[in-house]
């Protein structure tokens, strides 16, 4: 008889925490650093209890400096540890962006492989929580564009745990973005014990034949809502959760788009220069002969995230439905 593995209904916060906790128990080189990650347990409680279990040498409260967190994490990774750096809000990463862009991403390359950076940079990102300009942004393309970084964005607690374990075990720096809007709003079954979800593999979360919705993170759930509404109108839409942006699963995208002939890419970032463009260009380059309508992009407005009228800024099911109909009716 197979061993029973306990499964619990978890939030993404719980899943993220358990991934770190279990990896820290398995591997003494895994450590955490960031602002308020110690006794406070992180402002979203993602590291709650870890300081008590592992102590201050492995759950390191740093001074308030993202450059210090990221740069120190880089040095720790180069010197044999596997740091998980928490950035309190991804919007706050930018004082340390040079550490990510010039140092962390390039260290392996510029040393011709003599130094490696097995490091995770994780933190909450995205809107929908009335966080205003600086607690709401989706800057994933600013990480995805940088050679040397991997970028992962889970949409549910099960994937969050498995992807974070993969990220911690990865030999390269992984930017792990947690959609805070669904930190507690979306729950799923999460097994005890280590399991991995591979980086670079998308998941077809709903099968369909008429069009393909491609999304990730919190927008995946908005895309699913749109798919429900389209179903009521007789349109059978396939929904793909990309899960990883770098590397992204081109095969899964092509397989679906070749079947449906229509692609709609839904992202939370402002549209200009967004990751939707990469996916759209990829589809156009590889499968234009299969397309029966334009590739549509649904994204946030090309503006910063407003505190008071945010709901008009973010993509919603209406806009996704409209975009899907536009390509279907082409």
């Amino acid at each position: 008889m197979a061993t029973e593995t306990a499964t619990r209904t978890f939030t993404m916060v719980q899943a993220v925490r358990e991934a770190m906790q279990e990896e820290m128990r398995l591997d003494s080189s895994v450590c955490i650093l960031g602002e308020d990650v110690g006794p406070r347990g992180g402002v979203f409680l993602c590291t709650e209890g870890l300081y008590a279990e592992f102590g201050g040498d492995r759950v390191i409260d740093t001074p308030l400096s993202e450059a210090a967190i990221l740069g120190a994490g880089l040095g720790m990774a180069m010197n044999g540890l596997r740091p998980v750096a928490e950035i309190q809000f991804i919007d706050f990463l930018f004082p340390g962006y040079d550490q990510l862009y010039s140092e962390i991403a390039k260290m392996r390359y510029r040393s011709a492989g003599m130094f490696k950076v097995p490091m995770v940079i994780r933190g909450p990102y995205g809107g929908g929580v009335r966080g205003g300009v600086y607690h709401s942004q989706s800057p994933e393309e600013l990480f995805a564009h940088v050679p040397g970084l991997k970028v992962v964005i889970p949409s549910n607690p099960y994937d969050a745990k498995g992807l974070l374990i993969s990220a911690i075990r990865d030999e390269d720096p992984v930017v792990f973005l947690e959609p805070k809007r669904i930190y507690r709003a979306v729950k799923s079954e999460v097994p005890e014990g280590a399991y991995t979800v591979p980086i670079g593999k998308a998941k077809v979360v709903r099968e369909g034949t008429d069009a393909t919705l491609i999304s990730y993170g919190a927008m995946l759930h908005v895309a699913l809502e749109a798919a429900d509404r389209l179903k009521n109108e007789g349109k059978n839409v396939e929904v793909i959760d990309l899960r990883s942006l770098v590397p992204y699963d081109g095969e899964a995208i092509l397989e679906s788009v070749k079947k449906t002939g229509h692609a709609v890419v839904v992202v939370e970032a402002p549209k200009l220069g967004s990751f939707a463009n990469e996916i759209s260009a990829f589809i156009a380059e590889k499968a234009i002969e299969y397309l029966e309508g334009p590739i549509m992009r649904v994204a946030s407005i090309d503006a910063s995230v407003p505190y008071n009228i945010e709901k008009y800024y973010l993509p919603n099911a209406d806009r996704i439905v409209q975009a899907t109909k536009k390509t279907l009716e082409f």
Partner: protein, 364 residues
């Protein structure tokens, strides 16, 4: 142990005067053999530097940040580091890289971007690096290496490995935010890190007075809760002694130290710079003719009865042979294969890279 040095002095700590005579009450702990090795390394460093400059003039190298003038501060500061210790050089830290163990062949191959360069020519010349020797080649955005130098030290503390991290920055890099963040971090965690400020008095054209309103760069350490020492950076004995003190402190768990090495570069900022636009020839001549670290050390050794013409002639022969051998190795080394452009972005090629590689080179 009573501290042998006073932090935050207004005048530089020194052991040897400009004319090569010992400074009163400052008795070196260095052995005669160590003193001679320091001198020999400086002469070798100057010769490699000169060779690099010739390669630029010949059009064989595209860039160089000459080291000449700064041999004492670089070689003295790196002299007591062990192989396990880390250095984060700035560009121009030829002397530190040489002292840490890179060979003339590797150093010249680096200038030519050849395969023999441990970093395979990935970086512009004067950005020395070697994984095995824990020499981390710098990025050119000065200052941003400093937090990683502290991170390496924090890991050393966590692993109880006893490693020390030596972070070289110039006077200019002390103005960067990341540098101050790193100072702060090192102070809070009492990390085994040494910030070696090579104050050569110019960040390209900006002189030290326009870089900071502080009286010294050393005193900046006070704001972060550790000591800063101002040292005569052209006195290799002082540079080695003060750094040994800082290394011992770091290894004993007594935390970071900032050392300001007051020195001077003879060349322009780089081969792409024209220093006649911002500094007077007389100033350069003053430093080169009366404060040169190599000349000073030779006078000192001679006064101490440790050096004579025969020893000098033997050293010059050895240095010449070492540079010739290094040059031959560097020239014989091939350029890395074009396909290696894809290597080491990640541990393994990602799918989109494989596709690009096939597209460009016809194979994965």
């Amino acid at each position: 142990m009573a501290a042998p040095f006073k932090p935050f002095t207004d005048t530089p700590i020194g052991y040897v005067d400009n004319d090569g005579s010992p400074v009163a009450k400052m008795k070196p702990t260095l052995s005669d053999d160590q003193l001679k090795r320091l001198y020999g390394l400086m002469v070798l460093c100057r010769a490699i530097d000169d060779r690099g400059y010739i390669m630029v003039r010949q059009g064989r190298a595209g860039f160089l940040a000459q080291t000449a003038g700064q041999e004492a501060s670089q070689i003295g500061s790196a002299f007591f580091l062990e192989k396990r210790d880390w250095i984060f050089p700035s560009h121009r830290e030829l002397g530190a890289a040489l002292t840490k163990g890179m060979t003339p062949g590797q150093l010249l191959a680096h200038v030519l971007g050849k395969d023999l360069d441990p970093a395979k020519g990935r970086n512009m010349p004067s950005h020395y690096g070697d994984g095995e020797l824990h020499i981390v080649s710098p990025s050119s955005t000065v200052g941003n290496k400093t937090p990683a130098a502290v991170g390496v030290a924090m890991a050393a503390h966590i692993k109880k490995s006893g490693e020390v991290s030596m972070c070289y920055i110039g006077d200019g890099a002390t103005s960067e935010g990341d540098t101050l963040a790193a100072f702060n971090l090192a102070g809070v965690f009492k990390s085994p890190v040494i910030f070696a400020v090579q104050n050569n008095q110019y960040a390209i054209s900006i002189d030290a007075k326009h870089q900071t309103a502080s009286r010294t760069f050393a005193e900046k350490a006070a704001a972060f809760g550790f000591d800063g020492y101002l040292v005569d950076g052209n006195d290799v004995v002082a540079c080695a002694e003060i750094t040994k003190f800082a290394i011992d402190r770091a290894r004993a768990g007594e935390g970071p130290t900032l050392i300001e090495f007051l020195t001077y570069r003879y060349g322009p900022h780089s081969s792409a710079d024209d220093d006649s636009r911002y500094r007077k020839k007389e100033e350069l001549e003053l430093w080169r003719n009366t404060r040169d670290p190599i000349t000073r050390m030779k006078k000192y050794l001679t006064r101490q009865g440790l050096w004579d013409d025969a020893a000098e002639a033997k050293l010059q022969d050895e240095v010449k042979a070492a540079v010739e051998k290094g040059l031959a190795e560097a020239e014989a080394s091939p350029l890395p294969a074009p396909e290696t452009v894809f290597d080491h972005v990640y541990a393994t090629l990602l799918p989109h890279q494989i596709e690009e590689k096939i597209e460009i080179f016809g194979h994965a």
